[in-house]
């Protein structure tokens, strides 16, 4: 009788661990950020788009940036005017942010569900977005010179620039 009870408790514990652990784990994985790609990106425009796919329904996402003067993270608003938003059952989001600085921008993306009570259980990812100079558009003469002097230089490349 006692061994049966023990077996029952073991089974229940195993099932509970499977069900409860995704939200209870610390820190959890709540979102897969697809853009920025990697930990750093170099861009030319001052508006950058952040994209991600959440793991669970009802995920809360917060954007922050590192203030250069205080060295502290502050809320970073999207172009729609909010720094925290909820992603529902569709699980995907795309938000435009205006970069604060030319050069390096340190951006923090924080993701959690409503079950997460403690900050340490939230998913926090930090990215560096560097805003560089916009590529100058060359005129036809410069293009012709470039083509004559270096005809095969850029052939068959489909760069993301």
């Amino acid at each position: 009788m006692r061994s049966r009870l023990l077996l029952f408790i073991i089974i229940i514990t195993a099932i509970m661990s499977l069900v409860v652990s995704p939200v209870g784990a610390a820190p959890g994985k709540f979102v897969e950020i697809s853009r920025p790609e990697g930990n750093a990106e170099v861009v030319t425009k001052d508006v950058f788009s952040i994209f991600g796919t959440c793991v669970y329904d009802e995920t809360i996402i917060t954007f922050e940036y590192k203030d250069r003067s205080t060295e502290e993270f502050k809320p970073l608003e999207t172009t729609e005017g909010y720094s925290t938003f909820k992603v529902g059952s569709g699980k995907m989001f795309g938000k435009d942010i205006k970069l604060k600085y030319r050069g390096e921008n340190i951006i923090k993306i924080i993701a959690y569900t409503k079950d997460v009570k403690d900050d340490k259980d939230k998913q926090v990812q930090t990215y560096t977005i560097t805003q560089g100079e916009e590529k100058k558009k060359s005129n036809w003469f410069e293009k012709a010179i470039e083509w004559i002097t270096n005809p095969g230089k850029d052939s068959d490349k489909d760069k993301k620039d």
Partner: protein
Amino acid sequence: MSKKSKALEYYYEKFKAALLVFLIVLCIVQIGILWSSQSGSFPFLSSFFPDSKATSQVSLEEVKENYMLPYKIVLSKGYDEEHYIVPNGSREYKSLWDNAGEYITKALETKPTQTQLIDEEKWGVILANKSYYFEFKTQISIDIVKWVLNIKKPVDTLPGLSKIVICPDDPNNSYYDVIYIRDAVNIYTYILTDHGQNSLDQEVFDSVYNSLHGKPNFSNYKIAIETGINSALPKDMIAPFTSNSTEAYATVDYTPLGSQDGHTSSLAEYNAVQMELFGEVRSDYMPDEDVYGSIVFKNSDSVYRLYNNSVAEYKFIGTQISTEKPKVLEAYQRAVSFIMDIKDRSKYMGAINLYLSSISESSNSYTFKFDYSIAQGGEYGELPVLLKDFTLPGSDQPFDSSITIETTSKRVIQCRWLALKLQAEKSLIEYKWNFPEFVDKAYNSIDSLKNSNLPIQNYGIYYVLVQGSKDYSINPSFVLFNSEGNYSIPLNGQ
């Protein structure tokens, strides 16, 4: 023999000769009528008969381009830059497609510089980087493309095309014009080193951009590759992925043909339906009603039927002699001729444009599907119609395209089409929407979508027409597609 009887005999002979000539002419006319009513053509005589195939062949040449139109034309300013869908049917759309034809023709008259298997990520990058993108709803067979674009000296390398990217004066390829053509398997790259045309050059791009910029339904979208390579979306999907897009669409009103309660009994009602279906009352077709309550018009070799859900059907019931394998171009020409005929005869098809959405081959016939698209008026473009839950009595196949037509090289075997009077209202309503928000709404409210847990294959803004709906006006909806089906959420008007 008296002089009088001689004269009588002379006139009698004259009369016999005249009668003979008249009978011969009548015989020829009769043969002509028979030929013209059959699927085969009679090259000399058929020109005398207004209903003949030769007449429709001439008009087929004139309008063939209207049946092979890209479903989407996109202008791009580069990766992570602006991307715009040119409103279908607008002046700019027509001019861009006309000009693209020159580049595609030139490309198909040369051998591709490179042929590579489709790499979705690479295709997305090409599309985002290069100036012009043209997308068809399905892969168009190369024989049809050659016929429509009048390609005289084709180099046959690819079986068909579904998506095309054109980059005139490509700085990454020594300022030559570069064309990327995609079929179901490969991406073909054509570098045109001796192409003198500049009908899509930077100047044209700027002019089209400037004339459309700031106008409604010309919104700045993103291409899915720009949402990151790890994103689960198809890499060439174009949508408002971040901020809201504001677009204006009309409400579409529709009324069924014939009696609205679906039951027709009087001859006057039958005649009214015939007028709407054929543009005339045909005495050679016997009116009737079948067990499903559909209106039937039948003669010795064909049956027209109007189902209660406003789907009309033509069926050839004569004997088919030919067993030879059909040729896709001939079958397509038959299909287009038949549809032209329906459009010519039926006033209700006036505001509708057609997009070829599928081609499938069976052992001795081809089936072509076309989707309706409703013009919003001028620069506002068009919006396609999506049929939901349409079924036909006695058929296990869903009726999911506005026209489904099965043909051989010689004749149309069956054609089913949506026979509704569709009319876009003149005033337009503004809608604000963005992709993630409506994906969220769809997943929150449609259990079957949430439970399917399948990746999104495509999306679109459609007029969704639901079988059995008694609401005779429709507003646009956001529709998601996955491998199991489609799911729609109405847009919220302002």
